[in-house]
Amino acid sequence: MPPVPKNFLVATFLDQNSLLQAVRAVRDRGFRIFDVYAPYPIHNLDGEMGIRRTRLPWVTLGAGGAALIFALLMQFYTAIWDWPLNVGGKPANSTLAFVPITFELTVLIGGLSTVAALFLRARLFPGKRESPMLHGVTDNTFALVLRIRDDSFDAHLARLLLEQSGVTGVEEKAGEL
């Protein structure tokens, strides 16, 4: 079996501040951070890492809007157009009475679509296997991962930078993330 090329440089930290330092350090030197793994969301990290704000809320808006239109049309269609029955003498178009269901369907479909979109976007699905490279990131460890892409990647410099910022271990690892 040929040796698998080591394609990731994984630096682990035990505290948030060291991690932040390391992130700043490697970013300052032009490294592109593949990702950071943490047991909880670190709120000021996104900017440091250069992550753009997610567009998922647009999914909510779109799905919710579609659901709203669907709900209204469904109710108009069934109650007014398809079979208008005389219910308590009320007009077939009892629009006010259609509001609650319209709202509920908007929320339901909007919400579920957002969650589904998140799972799709973040490629989360039931049974997906965890990566053995990231031991402890769900407990107390923070991991900064750089991708070793080609020769232009200065692994030495990266290591140096990381070791200067309170890292507990730096390792080159192979695998999928």
Binding site: L85, G88, G89
Partner: protein
Amino acid sequence: MTPSTRAEGACKNRKEELVQIGQPDPRAYWKSLEQLHGGQKPSAEFAKGLPSAAVTRTDDTRRDFLSLMGFTVAAAGLAACRAPVQQAIPMLVGSDQIVPGVSSWYATTCGGCPSSCSLLVKQRDGRPIKIEGNDRSVLFGGGTCATGQATVLSLYDGERLRGPAWKGQSADWRQIDRHVSESLAAAERSNREIVLLSGTITSPSMLEIVTDWSKRYSNFRHVVYDAISLSAMRAANEKSFGRKLIPHYWFDKARVIVGIEADFLGTWLSPVEFARQYAASRKPENGSSLHVQFEPGLSVTGSNADVRVPVAPSNLGAVAVALLRRIAQKAGMAGFPEGPEPLADSKKLDAVSEELWRHRGASLVVSGVQDESVQVVVNALNAFLGNIGKTVDTARPSLQRSGDDAAMAELVERMNRGEVHTLMLHGVNPGYDYADAGRFLQGLEKVTLSISFSDRRDETSSHAHVICPDHHFLEAWGDAEPVESHFSLAQPLIAPLFNTRAAQESLLMWLGNDTSHYSYLRSFWQKNMFPHQKEAASFDAFWDRSLQDGVVDFPAKSAAPAASFHGDWRAAASGIIDRQKQQPASREDSYELHLYESVAMRDGRSANNPWLLELPDPITKVTWANFAAVSPQLAQRLSLSNGDVIALKTENARAELPVFIQPGQENRTIALAVGYGRKQVGKAGNNVGQNVYPLAQVSNGFRRLSALNIALEKTGRRVDLAGTQTHFSMEGRPIALETTLADLSKESAAGEEHKATPTLWTEQPQGEHSWGMSIDMNACTGCSACVIACQAENNVPVVGKDQVQRVRIMHWIRIDHYYRGSEDNPVSLHQPMMCQHCGHAPCETVCPVLATTTSSEGINQQVYNRCVGTRYCANNCPYKVRRFNWYNYTENPKFDFNMNSPLGRLVLNPDVVVRTRGVMEKCSLCVQRIQLAKNIALQGKRELVDGDIKSACQQSCPTQAIAFGDLKDPNSRVSQLMKSQRYYQVLEELGTRPNVGYLKKVRGSAVI
């Protein structure tokens, strides 16, 4: 007969059994005449009518569904699976009389009580399923009473004997005939009597058979015994008018009606007829008559009176005397015996007599008091007022009661002395209802041969040697003459269900006359009726027409003028006064009893009829029991509350009943309903309530429905009464409205018509018709015939006492009873209440599944198969008229009433679905009748006209209080009534826009 429903397993097998004709299996019933005769099988598809209608069907749907709940992809394959195979079995030989699925109507005569009302009976696929009044009858005019409506269910009573019995063993007719003939021969040889003990017989042909018997056997006697008899009146009338008769009354001709303890609107003599007349006299448009009622307990009649005075039974005679004294003075009769005033407020009597006198010749005094003297005094009153021949018809008397208390008492003594050899019992049950039933049964032991024609083993027939079960009247030929020269024919609607034989036929057979009852009847009519008429040329034509019409009226036999009164009223009055004086001063702890017939149970003969058992009493709304009605004052004094059981003791009898606190009850009197507490009538009626007949006291040979000097004690036990209404005050709400004659005339001047409440919504598109109903609360007496009519028409289940107690009665129409005024003597209001078919129905908006919507013709339609049973509609119904099926009431042993037996289910209307559990139901305005009428109009290629459709409640109403019709037709009766000044809608301020409206009750002018 075919199982038309998709029934499987046991259900199907049972139906297969039903199919087998002529099998000894007791469950093998006829379904039609054709089935019986000639082995023809009526055809197939009796869709809903057959036992287990919709219920099994919906179950099947559910089964289909559930079977698919566990599906995977195989669901597609499963969809191909089939429902159980249904078979259709046509008749072998077609009949031009019976087309499957088409109802026919036959005229007959009611056998529910001796009033003998003329009926039209609906027959469907060979089964009578609905009783209606015959509107060709000049006497009864198309109305019925609750008892009459319920008789159709008695036909399908599972307790009826399947065949004759000889000394407790079932036997065949030939055996019995041989035994009886032998015994009769022996009787003839002996010097002992042959006695026919019957109830009132209104049938002239049967009376002819009785005459034949007296001709054949010199030692034959006919004794007539009525549990509730008018024997004293007959005796008094003999003294007053020279003839033992019950006069025929004309309430419609009376402007002033005074009742002295006679519930003529509820139970007395001929209530359907009287209610009809009464309603006519009470029309506010003609200036209503004045009705004053003196009575101990609140009766249906009393609840309708303008003035009602609670009077103790012992004091009723004195009231009559006091009235007579005043009238006699006005009439200038001298020599009236002096006596004390019976009422504290003697001005009331002054005013009443003033009114009576003012309306001489157009007034009427009636009394049901079983006392000769009182009746003579009443006769004198009518005579002095010139009512005889006007409102009191003695020329064409009523034949509806001919019981003779004295003859009965004598018979019992003779029996005990062993002087009776053969005793035939027809239509009587003295073992239950005779004052001294023990003595009667003792005597019965000494009779050599006792023959009962009873349809079941009851308290008397179980002691008889032979039971020769008579047909139910719907299976039998017959005739009746309720009022002299007014005849009504009876014809069978169904071949006898069981191996029974008409009593007349048995009697003829034992006379050695082996003609059938039918040919005897025909020849009787040919001999006695045919000659009196001129219209028909041949007897066949006359017979056919009479049978079709059901009624034949001849002019009075004797054109004699009104009988003149020659009774000794002075003696009678002084007798009453003396008795009053002799009466020991009433002690604090002694009370009086007042026994009465309840509207539902009457004298107790229909005590196994679950419809009647569950019919709420019109006054108290109590079902499934009788009770001791006490006045609120007495209850307070003795600290009694509803349901406390008290013991009532006379010298030789004792009864324990739960208390019901009855406003308007006379303070020292306790009212009890007879007819309950039967021990051997059937599983529904056994031991329901207490038998209070033994408490009745006999005075001067007449059994009075009252007793003096009753001891009362509390037992400490409690029995919860099952009432369908527990709150009788309107709480000041504008629900059942009333007005006065004076106000009405004022309003007419103002002339303001009823207007619908305004709405923000646009009107919904409407169809060709708009069905509506109008209920005249002034005409409604509360008699409750409509309740049973609706139950019969719409397959409304009986739920039993426990469920009624849990407020789960299923009746689609109820009659609300409200009181106004003081507890001691309140004013009553009866308000029939059913689905109001709101145009803006609150129930519809809340139904999640559209199971209830408004039809294009204004009906609030309830679709049972769509209903999921959230009960939201019932909660939101301001009238609380929706009924939920809390359980399966069909084929459920927990509700072992008519709908739990294949026999009892034969009464179901095939045009109305039997509802399954978990669905809501309610009044549909008899939509099946609307559809039928439309279809008949279609067949006749014509438009519907007003009167084509009559709802079941409307049809049954003797007073025509209910009008149904098309609101879009400005000439329909209901549209006309809507224009009445009295028209209003209940709770219309809620904006419900009901299609059912009410006409306000009118209170008479406040002269008294």
